[in-house]
Subunit: 145 residues, 6 copies
């Protein structure tokens, strides 16, 4: 684990995405009309993602535990793809990129789990960091995502 | 949560993949030669994945807790891509597809976390179920992956 | 911890309740119209409760870990009270009463947490077992609740 | 999750209660004389409550993880009721009300779990916040509890 | 993780020990007279150990999750040493040796944590398996411990 | 739980050890040559230990949750003994001694778990604090270990 004892707290933000691709427009409609038998896919997956962000350091050995001060989860539909956008913020000595990516993956996996009974062709595509600020260098991949 | 009280135990297997794509052959060499500063990427990520499979029901609200009886994690390199192949087995009333996909995602995220200091362009691509047996219907996407 | 090595699996069910009492009809309306700033109170609390049921043995020292095979969470409104009804089932050597009550308490606490910014007078009342079947003796308090 | 990145640390305290009501004075005596077969009800439940307070953000999606700097758990007997009083303190950007209430509920549930074999009529009543200091406004319900 | 899908459930038991050695008879007296400032050392450590046994598969990557059907924790004092004896039982495809040893280590660590303010010389000695039954071969080191 | 609300953050370090004793030089060779069937013992156990340090406050009731800012795990072989040396650092109001000792015990238990199939005589000896700095008084037992 990287030694961060000498570092200062600064505001860190990270935005990550995950793409869930379904195999039929009916699946998209079922989500939007809240007719998926397991429940409200967006809300349940948001709850899972909020908890997942906070558990990142429990699952990844080298991740520093850190105070999650903000998490936001949004959904965008593009054809058969649902794009999950997750923003995480902290004031700490190290960034929240992996936390944001972990949250995005948990939201995507929960959508997969809830959609499995009605769509056998769901896949998760392209979990990536879109943007980060704070720390030594900022990154912005959001125009190329 | 789906009611499985009336179902019988049968042998269930699932194989899932995740693809980690790095931005340079140097990153692949660093992994293989065990020169990544954070440690042995394959072994640490395998440990994270073994634990991650077991924590699936802790993270996804509708997942049934179940006895994980076998997990295996393999790596394949194709150019700049590392393909993670994970197999999970149980004898239970419901399958282990989501557990395999969750394990694959945790392995991939841990690789991302360990590689981040040496490669800013790592992405996770295409987490998907390749194969499952047991349950009402078998699935085999392994030829089309 | 009670020794259950000699016991047989039987179908066990438990129904528990928790009552959340708010201080104004506006709070009830905000929940029903999904206008609570923190999000959809019913769905987020359901997600928390589904996870909470599965974590009971992690929190209570003497509880046996057991396979949760079904959980259902319903809400009923009576004036300023929201009654949470939770049903849990398993086929195991011991019952799921405490799991149902723990789930009910987590749903109630999550409602409290989400409603706190808009209603300072929320209280949790009367977490109790309504009914259990399976095991040595059945219990039915559901007519007296 | 509410954005607290701009807030300052201040000392926050919260006092919450839960009431456990048993159905017979024999149950109260068994607790006080440490004759409950599952063990010392007060001490085991205190241990569960101390751990429970720390796990609040693991169970409730919108709760910020925060450094618990003090927890104290006391018991008061009034007839057939045991009143659990729990105090939690932190220096942080947000309060510990929900942490105190979660801790109180875990203490109460553990008492229920340990007493179940000797008293089938145990109920949990009235989990509520009694007092909080720090933050925008103090609350004191302790005279009306 | 070893593949146990083909194995049959049998009754498995394991007994493990840990030794906590203190530096003064005053520490032993403080424990027995329940005068340790942090609380009742035996009962709090028993609670931690009961929970710890159940969390073994969460901490050790290759451990199979399994149904803990019985745990018992006893203490024996010999001079400056406190011997923790822990028994774990299950009916499952694999044994509970590591679960018993993990429980013993958590009890010992909790005693260390609670005694630290009054005795700077506490050490943990000799965590070992004393006995196991069930499985391919029984082991009995209890006469040589 | 000790009240630390009034304390100041200072740099705290702790070094702890655990000794794993095997029964044959073949076991040592199998570890070093990475021929243990369950996998790479050093790397898997390091991963378990890094995670274990972070989970200390989840397992021990009186431990304060705190930001782990550095963890390092080293191995030394002396005959049939493997000495695990673990260093933990934080800037916080209380020390990381128990965190270091817990990490050491988890590394040792994981080695036991992985070696069990090839060596029935593995024991864990002497988990102890070697050194701490920060806080009211420094301790240095490292010359007497």
């Amino acid at each position: 684990m990287v030694d961060i004892t000498h570092k200062q707290n600064t505001l860190r933000t990270a935005v990550a995405q995950a793409i869930v691709e379904v195999s039929s427009p009916d699946t998209i409609m079922a989500i939007l009309e809240k007719k998926v038998p397991k429940g409200d896919v967006y809300e349940m997956s948001r709850a899972a993602g909020l908890l997942g962000v906070k558990k990142t350091a429990d699952l990844l050995p080298d991740c520093h535990p850190l105070p999650i001060e903000y998490t936001d989860i949004q959904y965008e539909i593009n054809g058969l793809q649902i794009r999950i956008l997750i923003t995480v913020k902290t004031n700490y000595k190290t960034g929240v990129e992996v936390e944001a990516m972990h949250g995005a993956s948990i939201v995507a996996l929960n959508m997969y789990d809830m959609l499995k009974p009605i769509d056998k062709g769901v896949e998760i595509r392209n979990i990536k960091l879109l943007k980060k600020t704070g720390g030594k260098s900022d990154i912005d991949h959001s125009q190329t995502g």
